[in-house]
Symmetry: C2
Subunit: 236 residues, 2 copies
DNA sequence: TCAAAAGTGTTATCACTACACCCATGG
DNA sequence: CCATGGGTGTAGTGATAACACTTTTGA
């Protein structure tokens, strides 16, 4: 039995994939391999298959492009203008992914002509993909202001200066080092490691890692270095 | 031209419609008029038509049920388990609506066998609609903690005690009257009216209304009254 | 030895919490 | 005249913001 007299539509998933290279935020884009807009820059996406949920589709697509499993992935919103794709109507559900840029496997990316673009010099994107990126960035800012998710952009072990750069980059602001340290550590989400990262200074900075136990419990009790006026209303 | 070799799917919109009767939160449900699950309680929903966006579909559906225009409506998230509808695969995009329960037109509702249920005594819902309601409530709590949206549940003119009851009901908490007043008024979002509502006390409580100008500017600089541990992480 | 980044404490201000009495009115 | 709900101020506490010098070490 089926529902009759109703039009069926293509449903796609598009992934907004953020990375951080230590200095700035980057976005992973591919050169589209088929018409329309062949060879134009695009978010990584694909059609939802009959037997998979949207989350599963997003996970599959992300894995195809990056080779990664266990990536932070969150549904953003559906984009649905009837004419957003000139070929045929497609409902696109967008997902935000945060990945450690160092884990990204260049081998696999070449297959898709993928490239990391700095956020402030993105190429022109196909369809409404620029809207998706804007919405994703707003969501990331909003969420990161209250929840500890930026860790997802870093390796398992990272230093406090690295983490601070991440926050400063996202909100385009400067944070006092002492206040930052005190606040982050007071959440008890971070465990100090014994060794140091000497790659960016002679003295070296201690590594920290996530205390998974406290992380789960304190997910909401984090926050918020960000001047109020830097925060935009949620995009949804 | 079409995309070939891809399966097309039904796409529906489901509306989680919240109201407030002065004492408690209520949810507007309908008795489903067709199989499967005929006469079971359900969210108001419908299939997306070829020429409308999801927002337009949600607006249309909401108007069919309530007769209302200009309702607060926000996309929540897509629900997509392949077997969520036993008849056929349907991707459902859920929307949260906030309406002034008094404006609701009973005439129209009867056509759909609609009924307002108190949030703490909802009937069993079809499919995954209970998940949608739970997600919607989390979203509402989360958002209301930082943004002035609960006004949407009240008439244009309302009193401070009414507004306070709204917050207390949503977070199931008691708020000090003086602290509440000070905080709400300090946002400058409210304009005091000259007249009073005498329906709930002999002295009467002054009406307030939204200062639309300040409201737009200050959307983010609001509240929150809510104890930290009442706040769940966003559902998405 | 010095340049470059890491690390660390104190004070002032602001926001939030707790708390209790008077006011206006209709019945 | 009194019961009911509306309205108001202050003091204490905790969180945040501003601020500068010392430490380490590889080149």
């Amino acid at each position: 039995m089926k529902y009759s007299n109703q039009k069926r539509l293509l449903v796609a998933v598009d992934c907004i994939i953020f990375g951080f290279d230590g200095t700035e935020y980057k976005l992973l884009l591919i050169q589209r391999g088929f018409a329309p807009e062949k060879e134009k820059w695009s978010l990584m996406g694909g059609f939802v298959q009959p037997d998979e949920s949207l989350d599963e589709a997003a996970t599959r697509i992300l894995n195809q492009l990056t080779g990664l499993h266990d990536v932070y992935l969150e549904q953003l919103q559906a984009f649905s203008k009837p004419d957003r794709d000139p070929i045929e109507r497609v409902i696109a559900v967008s997902y935000v992914a945060l990945i450690d840029i160092k884990k990204y496997n260049r081998q696999i990316s070449n297959e898709f002509h993928a490239h990391w673009f700095p956020m402030n010099s993105l190429p022109k994107l196909i369809f409404d993909h620029q809207d998706m990126v804007t919405a994703a960035l707003n969501r990331l800012r909003y969420k990161a202001a209250f929840h500890p998710i930026l860790f997802e952009l870093l390796p398992e072990k990272f230093t406090l200066p690295q983490l601070q750069t991440l926050y400063e980059g996202l909100f385009d602001t400067k944070i006092d080092k002492r206040n930052f340290t005190r606040k982050v550590l007071s959440s008890n989400i971070l465990k100090k490691e014994k060794d140091k990262d000497k790659s960016s200074s002679k003295k070296g900075a201690f590594y920290y890692s996530i205390d998974e136990q406290v992380y789960k419990d304190n997910f909401q009790n984090f926050l918020n270095f960000i001047p109020k006026n830097e925060l935009n209303p949620q995009t949804e």
